[in-house]
């Protein structure tokens, strides 16, 4: 997975100054945040359902190996194949091999963050295979050679005009020369192009929202129906997904689906919910003749038994992104990682090492809104803090901050020094103030006064004044 978190500060600054992006990000509040709130309110027992979902996933992760074996046995018994990929490279190779055996030239794709994680498209292209994203959003960013900026709304960062330009530029080769501006027209045009791709594809690759151990099924939800066409038109269907997507039973899957859609988009139910179980069998009128599941580990099993184990409960609903005030202001690209926002701040370092993901767990005010909405109750702030601890232990945190915190700890350890230190600070602040306000602070304080003033303390410290007035202690 390519990580570029080092440029976070710079990218965030650019994002903040980008009016198109800022306008586009406003949709999150009305489209997702308010819709989720309504959906949660309208479903009695929503909160206890979250507890139940957390327990389901926790139990699955605790017995992951057993459930995976059960899943494999059930996939095999209906004529499918399960492949195990330790890392991204292995996953790419497995998918490439299946495509080659199928003689694939065109591959349609639907709904898979994991293929972004393992950078499958570039690999397939290098093999002379053309991958076509069929989710409208993914299709748009594929044309633009961009990356998704949100795990369920990949083009949330784009405006309608940008999409119109993109189609206008790329669709001329198919005989479409008019620049369309109506949403419906644009969708129709893209659909007519994608239709041909669906039919032409030799292999269809989808992700999975869930894998069901008791049935050996892969479950995909979409609003466009593109996963169905991707999975059932070509002769070979490959499911590429992470090992943590497993749930024990159909019932469990049902619970999680109810939470997923409501948490993600506020929908009670999505337009399409597809359960893929094995290849076409005798009597089936359609469907692929080969069904493969590639189970990607890529660092996930290493999280088991660590402080980050609970992250494996994540069902990729994106609610934490939608509710994160940092994400809402800078969008997903600033994070420089496939997985942005709070869930990415925890997951990305787990998958690629904290050295490469330094800013991610720090770029949060730990306001806790992500945890408040997470359908499976992942304690995201706590885990970001754990990453910060790892960084601190390994001396990866910025030196200035380490010194500052060390100094503060020593000061607070010695009451007398603390009292004197605070007294000096209080005096100093009053000295540099003008009419009670400070508009310029030195050193680290410069970050503060770049955008805000600071009211100087009116007198000595509280404790000193309290004593002077004879208050009890």
């Amino acid at each position: 997975m390519e990580i570029d978190s080092g440029a976070f500060v710079e990218k965030a600054r650019v994002a903040l100054a980008d009016p198109t992006l800022q306008h586009a990000l406003k949709h999150i509040k009305h489209g997702f945040v308010e819709a989720r709130a309504r959906a949660a309110e309208n479903l009695p027992g929503f909160e206890s359902m979250r507890d139940h979902a957390r327990d389901i996933k926790a139990r699955t992760i605790a017995n992951l190996a057993d459930y995976l074996e059960q899943f494999e046995a059930n996939v095999t018994s209906v004529g499918g194949h399960v492949h195990w990929a330790r890392d991204a490279e292995e996953a790419r190779r497995i998918v490439g091999d299946i495509c080659r055996q199928a003689g694939a030239r065109t591959v349609t794709k639907s709904k898979s963050m994991v293929t972004e994680e393992i950078e499958l498209n570039a690999y397939l292209e290098a093999q002379g295979i053309v991958p076509v994203e069929t989710d409208l959003g993914e299709y748009i960013i594929q044309l633009r050679k961009e990356k998704p900026s949100h795990i369920i709304a990949p083009v949330i960062h784009l405006s309608k005009a940008q999409v119109a330009d993109t189609f206008h530029e790329h669709h001329a080769q198919y005989g479409f020369h008019e620049r369309l501006t109506e949403r419906g027209d644009m969708v129709r045009e893209a659909r007519s192009i994608l239709r041909e791709r669906f039919v032409a594809a030799d292999v269809g690759i989808t992700g999975a929202n869930f894998l069901i151990a008791e049935t050996g099924s892969a479950v995909v939800v979409t609003n466009e129906g593109n996963a169905d066409l991707t999975a059932s038109l070509p002769d070979t269907h490959i499911v590429v997904t992470g090992i943590e997507k497993l749930v024990p039973t159909l019932d469990d899957c049902h619970t999680l689906l109810r939470l997923l859609t409501r948490s993600a988009t506020g929908q009670d139910i999505t337009t399409y919910m597809s359960f893929f179980t094995g290849p076409r069998r005798g009597g089936d009128l359609s469907g692929p003749s080969a069904f493969h599941v590639v189970l990607v580990d890529n660092g996930r099993s290493d999280m088991i038994g660590t402080e980050f184990e609970e992250m494996l409960r994540c069902i990729r609903c994106g609610a934490c992104l939608n509710h994160c005030p940092v994400y809402a202001n800078i969008g997903g690209h600033a994070y420089g990682s496939v997985y942005p926002g709070p869930m990415g701040a925890v997951l990305t370092p787990s998958l690629s090492g904290i050295e490469k993901a330094g800013h991610l767990p720090n770029a949060s005010t730990v306001c806790g809104r992500c945890e408040e909405v997470c359908p499976v109750r992942i304690p995201l702030p706590r885990m970001m803090r754990h990453w910060r601890e790892r960084e601190f232990e390994r001396h990866l945190s910025p030196r200035g901050m380490r010194w500052g915190m060390g100094f503060w700890a020593v000061l607070t350890d010695h009451p007398r020094t603390y009292r004197i230190g605070l007294w000096i600070a209080s005096r100093a602040l009053r000295l540099i103030a003008w009419r009670g306000w400070i508009s310029r602070l030195p050193l680290a304080g410069g970050g503060w006064t770049a955008f805000r003033d600071m009211r100087a303390p009116s007198g000595g410290t509280f404790q000193r004044q309290w004593r002077k007035r004879g208050g009890r202690r």
Binding site: V9, R369, D413
Partner: protein, 253 residues
């Protein structure tokens, strides 16, 4: 100060480092409110910071040491009140998580957690009724994140504020969205923090309120500083200052 005989008991006021240094007025307002609720106030000598900056910064060992100090200092009191949701949450939720359950300090941390309360929660639980009168004032309230989400402080400050004669409480459109303070976040990511606090001040302006109240001095400094830089006339204050009626005449010298 009430005589011990008529008092409901003793309350140790843990003022937090930001109140101590930046806003002594909040400390005095808190003390007077606790007294008005019928308790005696003591300010244990030797208090410093609860350890939150180090805890959130990844310096767990230092945070643990700071917790040990605070526990040793406060454990002998029957009640501890903190005029800050985030510092109260640090003591109530995070202190116990810093120690092994087998460690003797875990028990002590739990005991302290149990008797520690955030100021407005304490006042609401003890039936405190504000005595202050205001000339008709439109006030809005910002929910500070830790207090709201970790301790469930939502209705308490609102109920108290609504009982102030002359005060009209108007809600922000997004009262529960972070103001961008976040401890060291505001210094490490000033651009993002600025955008967040600017969203907040715009929300405040849209309510038409002349005062914005909140329960944490960190957020207070952030929002107040931004309002001032924008040239706004809206006053930012701690809930305690409004309740105690010390907003116009702060408790300093």
């Amino acid at each position: 100060m009430k005589k011990p005989s008529e008092s409901k008991g003793e309350v140790a006021l843990f003022v937090t480092c930001l109140v101590d240094l930046m806003r002594p007025e909040v400390g005095f307002a808190s003390a007077s409110l606790i007294e008005a609720a019928g308790f005696e106030v003591v300010v244990p000598k030797g208090q410093s910071c609860c350890g939150q900056p180090n805890y959130n910064g990844g310096d767990r060992n230092a945070a643990r040491r700071m917790a040990e100090r605070t526990i040793a200092l406060l454990q002998r009191y029957e009640r501890v009140v903190v005029p800050s949701g985030s510092c109260a949450a640090m003591i109530k939720l995070h202190y116990p998580s810093l120690f092994d359950e087998a460690d003797a300090l875990f028990g002590k941390a739990r005991a302290l957690a149990d008797k520690t309360q955030e100021l407005t929660t304490f006042l609401a639980a003890n039936g405190y009724v504000p005595a202050v009168k205001l000339a008709a004032t439109r006030v809005t309230y910002h929910d500070s994140c830790s207090g709201l989400r970790e301790l469930g402080i939502h209705d308490q400050p609102r109920a108290l504020l609504r009982r102030i004669d002359g005060l009209r409480l108007v809600e922000l459109s997004e009262p529960e969205v972070c103001c961008g303070f976040g401890g060291t976040f505001c210094i490490k990511y000033p651009d993002i923090s600025n955008r967040m606090v600017s969203n907040k001040t715009a929300d405040i302006a849209a309510t038409g309120a002349s005062v914005v109240a909140m329960g944490d001095v960190g957020c207070l400094m952030n929002i107040e500083g931004r309002l001032r830089r924008e040239g706004s006339s809206v006053r930012a204050c701690h809930v305690a200052e409004l309740l105690a009626g010390t907003l116009e005449t702060p408790g300093g010298n």
